[in-house]
């Protein structure tokens, strides 16, 4: 009975703690995010390469006008676990952009085209320039944006599709838009994705949902380039640990079986006999506790 109570309490404890972990940090009315069956979710999740390549195209043609993604390098585009462009494709992408390098032997700075080893070009030289060019709102760098928002991929996806007419009588200042999923519902980014915004190089249909899905997938990879490697390694580690755990468990049982447990049960019998004798031989009045 006590054991059951303990067990129930422990289960309750675990459930409670998990619930806390899942609870939102704010108390505003919770908006249900649009769910999607992402290929990278779940323990065996992987990235859809073509989606990543299309997502890169969306980033490049739509988002990169305002959003930097400064922790990505062009070589990442050809590395394993990502869009996996060929080395030449990635090199060609890099060469479209310039970078200031130097000083050279004459002491001057010069521009050259970017290489695989260079980082992605940013639309603005610094945060302040980006902010002032966008009406006082800084378009966040996208390198880890998916990890920086509660709801992750679902949130980004929902936000991209979440522009709608504000409810009747809702006050909106100039340059501010209504988005259902933005905390506070006011966002300074105008709707970025429309059907046909991008002409996909693989010929896929560029619906709003497709654009949002592809760019979100790209951003998830940008934030977690080693996700696939992590899942693969995790699986191997788990398999290994289960095997090792079984072996250690059996070893532990084997070791503990060396104990003379018979002696323990003999001792129990002995003690019981003593008490029994004392109980039957007792001729007194009020035996409170038998020791």
């Amino acid at each position: 009975m006590i054991r059951l109570n303990n067990l129930l309490l422990k289960i309750f404890f675990i459930v409670f703690v998990t619930a806390i972990g899942n609870s939102s940090y704010s108390d505003e009315g919770k908006i249900e995010l649009i769910k999607n069956d992402w290929s990278f979710k779940g323990i065996f999740g992987t990235f859809d390469r073509t989606s990543l390549q299309r997502g890169y195209q969306v980033y490049q043609e739509v988002c990169s006008g305002c959003h930097s993604i400064q922790h990505l390098s062009y070589r990442n585009l050809s590395e394993k676990g990502g869009p996996e462009f060929t080395l030449d494709e990635a090199k060609a992408i890099a060469e479209q952009f310039e970078i200031t390098d130097g000083p050279n032997d004459e002491g001057e700075m010069f521009t050259r085209s970017r290489r695989l080893s260079d980082k992605f070009a940013s639309p603005f030289p610094n945060v302040q320039a980006a902010t002032i060019a966008n009406g006082g709102a800084y378009p966040p760098d996208m390198s880890v944006l998916v990890k920086a928002r509660k709801g992750g991929a679902d949130y980004i996806y929902s936000l991209l599709l979440g522009y709608e007419e504000p409810p009747a009588g809702y006050e909106l200042d100039e340059g501010i838009y209504y988005n259902k999923y933005m905390p506070g519902q006011k966002i300074m980014m105008s709707k970025p994705l429309f059907e046909g915004s991008v002409e996909y190089s693989d010929g896929a249909q560029a619906t709003e949902e497709q654009l949002a899905k592809d760019v979100t997938t790209f951003l998830v990879w940008a934030a977690e380039p080693h996700l696939e490697a992590s899942h693969k390694m995790g699986f191997k580690v788990f398999l290994y640990l289960i095997i090792l755990l079984t072996l250690v468990y059996l070893s532990k049982q084997k070791v503990w079986s060396r104990l003379d447990l018979k002696e323990d049960s003999n001792q129990k019998e002995e003690t019981f006999d003593k008490v029994e004798r004392a109980a039957t031989e007792y001729e007194g009045e009020d035996p409170k506790t038998f020791r």
Partner: protein
């Protein structure tokens, strides 16, 4: 079951557990060691492309590759002839010039003295090529050690001409 068989079974279990455990420990240690190996951003810089279109014959430029100086000399006809004419028996580290410069007009070498690592000075020394001031090593117009304490010729890195104007080193 006899005690002996029991004990054999018992030992097998423990041996198996130790072995599997050791495999796990080894696998766990590998990332801790490998993290000190060159990371991918360093490896990305392991090749450098150099534009040599502006290098005149008889001139040497120095570029940085993997943190080290690389001498790229566009040799004149007479320099090439001089390098080819050297008797291998006179060399401490015998090496044909044609083995060192596939395209004889261009000499590409790691500008680090093979003695103790100083950077030799150009257009200097008894062979009018390179001279290391630290301990007096003289290299010839093929970068081969002729005089002084350095044991071997200046190293030739892996390189190739990706086009007529560009050398990719590494």
């Amino acid at each position: 079951m006899s005690n002996e068989i029991k004990s054999k079974r018992r030992d097998f279990l423990f041996t198996a557990t130790y072995t599997i455990g050791a495999v796990g420990v080894g696998a766990a240690i590998w990332p801790l060691v490998d993290q000190m190996n060159p990371d991918s951003s360093v490896k990305a810089l392991s090749t450098t492309e150099v534009d040599v279109s502006s290098v005149e014959p008889g001139k040497t430029i120095t570029v940085l590759w993997r943190g080290k100086p690389i001498f790229i000399r566009r040799r004149t006809k007479s320099e090439i002839d001089e390098a080819a004419a050297v008797n291998l028996k006179d060399l401490k580290d015998p090496e044909k010039d044609s083995d060192r410069a596939k395209n004889p007009e261009w000499l590409v070498m790691v500008g680090v003295c093979t003695h103790l690592g100083c950077v030799p000075l150009g257009d200097r020394g008894d062979y009018k090529a390179w001279f290391c001031p630290c301990h007096g090593s003289h290299y010839d117009i093929s970068g081969r050690i002729r005089k002084g304490p350095a044991p071997t010729n200046l190293e030739i890195p892996k390189y190739e001409f990706v086009d007529s104007k560009t050398i990719k080193i590494g």
